[in-house]
């Protein structure tokens, strides 16, 4: 019996429970077209990659690509703890024993993260060797390993910090310092410069992390983080099948508050107001903003180079419009089981029309922004046809979408 109550046993039991819980969803994902779609992307990426390493262009930004790719995988240091809200009652009394529990968590997540970082580094090395390559590949491996360890340590110290503002600031700083260190190793030609810079940054880092007040064991932080991770899993599964709704996380996004104020105060805008607020503050809105940012960036790159006589940017435009539209579709599930939908003195048909309005306006705004990032650089290069075709495709999609969506919404309602 005592064996079963050991921290290690609890950890293993919980990890197993999570796997059992998510397995059916992975199966649903497998049955969808997603794996085929991903393999297609993977194949095209592989072809592109081998073409690139076969002959890296002279003006290829070797150092910049390395800094971006490696910063992402070296800084990202998640921690799966399987902790849940109830643990403040059930596990907290055993806080003294929690170090053995956490040790397994660290081992588990560090291995996964290290494998990912190693894979990215391996992919990068052939490109690196064709650039300036001031230091040998082994030196880069050592630097990456040290940076990964420092990031895992830093991420834990951040979790322990009492004040959320301080925690965010330190995280930003950690990412910046890692990027700076990588830049030093990838761009500085003298070893003593790179090493000296690293030492300087390392001492600054240790000093800064010693300052803020910290929790011994950041229960609430870990529970919140675990909750967020689970939510991401379910948001992903939600693309393929209905999933149980977990408590949503909310971001204020004050910079978008003006959008909500545009909704006029009137009875026929009640659901417009509610859905607009949900879209702006919930996870869907955040995902859409990130996708929009990424889309604009990639479309701009393609359009600026006028690749495939400008049609490269049209392809990327269509892909991002599609992904954003799929994300936006998730809004339909947000208030599906809300009691107020039934209690408010508003006709049901009005809800659907107002939902469609929010959907239409938000997608239209995103599409216009994406389109501008293609059309302006193309126009500067004197190419007009691809932008025109992109606009026609977008308008056709925007015109067809409400009809399909209305059918889905009516079906959802009948199912309830």
């Amino acid at each position: 019996m005592s064996q079963d109550r050991s921290m290690e046993a609890i950890w293993r039991k919980r990890a197993k429970a999570f796997r059992a819980e998510t397995l059916p969803y992975f199966r649903y994902m497998g049955q969808s077209g997603f794996p085929a779609f991903m393999s297609l992307i993977l194949i095209s990426c592989t072809i592109g990659y081998f073409k690139l390493i076969h002959h890296v262009p002279a003006n290829f930004p070797v150092a910049a690509v390395g800094v971006i790719a490696l910063t992402l995988v070296l800084c990202w240091s998640p921690l799966r703890t399987w902790l849940a809200a109830g643990d403040t009652v059930f596990m907290m009394p055993r806080e003294a024993e929690m170090s053995s529990y956490l040790r397994i968590s660290f081992r588990y997540t560090t291995i996964a993260c290290a494998v990912l970082a190693a894979a990215v580094l391996l992919l990068y090395l052939p490109i690196y060797n064709q650039g300036a390559a001031y230091y040998g590949a082994w030196m880069l491996v050592v630097v990456a390993a040290v940076l990964k360890a420092a990031n895992i340590w830093g991420a834990w110290k951040e979790r322990q910090m009492t004040w959320p503002g301080m925690r965010r600031l330190m995280r930003l700083l950690r990412w910046m310092l890692t990027a700076c260190t990588l830049t030093a190793w990838l761009a500085a030609s003298e070893l003593w410069q790179a090493a000296g810079f690293t030492l300087l940054i390392a001492s600054l880092y240790v000093l800064l992390y010693k300052l803020p007040s910290k929790h011994q064991f950041p229960w609430e932080r870990l529970i919140e983080e675990e909750g967020k991770t689970r939510k991401r899993y379910y948001a992903f599964f939600g693309l393929f099948i209905d999933v149980p709704t977990l408590q949503s996380s909310v971001a204020r996004r004050s910079y978008l508050a003006w959008v909500l104020r545009l909704v006029p105060y009137s009875n026929r805008n009640t659901f417009t107001y509610l859905y607009a607020a949900s879209l702006l503050r919930a996870e869907i809105g955040g995902m859409m903003l990130r996708l929009l940012f990424l889309g604009c960036l990639i479309i701009y790159w393609f359009a600026e180079a006028a690749s495939l006589s400008g049609y490269g940017s049209v392809i990327v435009f269509v892909i991002f419009m599609g992904i954003i539209a799929v994300q936006l579709g998730g809004l339909r599930h947000v208030h599906r089981y809300s009691v107020w939908k039934h209690v408010y003195p508003l006709p049901e048909a009005q809800r659907i029309e107002q939902y469609l309005k929010v959907d239409r306006i938000s997608l239209f705004s995103c599409v216009v922004i994406l389109w501008l990032f293609a059309a302006i650089p193309l126009a500067v290069a004197g190419v007009y046809m691809p932008s025109l075709i992109a606009a026609v495709l977008a308008l056709a999609y925007l015109a067809l979408r409400p009809m399909r969506l209305r059918k889905k919404l009516i079906k959802d309602e009948e199912e309830e």
Partner: protein
């Protein structure tokens, strides 16, 4: 005068074979506060769910402002505001935005809305929290937001389920004062609660439910009578105890 709420021979529940409510009938008139009391599982929440239209009666009907949900959905729905037992708020909306949403849903006039909002925020000591998200509020504060929303709508009928849970003493006092005020203006109130002393002090009539049936209905004297107590003998709690334990002291 047409009663604001009429529940006629209501039988209903989650499964047709095992109804929770058995032939429940009562009505509430304008300017009346009625207390709905009963043990856990007596059928109070199920009754409320039927009134809200979240459950369909198997037998009987519920009328609000003289109409059933099917005959005139909009009139039915705009005639009441509801304060649930557990606060159900939208995590992504602030306190102020909840009030605005309710104002929109219940067509509260634009001009009077601003004044009412300020009044409610002040009265329930929520001014410093007006921009806080619902997910960052304590349970009592969430309950305050629910109550403020109901009061903002100023409907003819208030359906209030266990309003005092988690409320601070000032909140309870504000709520009761406001309920008395809206009652005097002609609103009807159905309030379910376990705090029998408060129910006794504020309600005009009482509905005592036990095992899905109404075992006593009426003024305090009528409830005492149903419990077999003497006139003016004993509190609502004494009568309630007698009624639900079958008179075995």
């Amino acid at each position: 005068m047409v009663p604001i709420l009429q529940v006629n021979s209501l039988t209903g529940g989650y499964s047709p074979r095992r109804p929770v409510l058995h032939d429940v009938s009562f009505e509430i008139k304008a300017g009346e506060m009625v207390g709905l009391i009963g043990l856990n599982g007596a059928g109070k929440s199920t009754t409320i769910k039927h009134i809200l239209g979240l459950m369909k009666p198997q037998i009987g009907e519920v009328k609000v402002s003289g109409v059933t949900l099917e005959s005139d959905t909009e009139r039915y729905r705009s005639s009441f505001a509801y304060v649930p037992e557990t606060p159900v708020l939208f995590d992504e909306l602030t306190v102020e935005e909840h009030l605005r949403l309710t104002g929109m849903a219940y067509s509260v006039q634009d001009k009077s809305y601003e004044t009412k909002e300020e009044e409610l925020l002040t009265e329930f000591q929520m001014l410093p929290k007006r921009k806080a998200f619902a997910s960052h509020l304590s349970k009592g504060m969430k309950q305050k937001v629910m109550i403020m929303n109901a009061l903002l709508a100023e409907p003819p009928l208030y359906i209030i389920d266990e309003p005092f849970l988690g409320l601070d003493p000032l909140g309870i006092r504000s709520l009761l004062e406001r309920l008395v005020e809206v009652k005097q203006k002609g609103a009807a109130i159905l309030m379910s609660s376990h705090i029998l002393s408060t129910v006794e002090a504020y309600c005009d009539r009482f509905i005592v439910m036990h095992h899905g049936k109404i075992v006593a209905l009426g003024t305090l004297d009528e409830v005492r009578q149903a419990a077999g107590l003497e006139m003016r003998g004993g509190s609502l709690e004494d009568a309630f105890y007698k009624l639900v334990t079958g008179g075995t002291d």
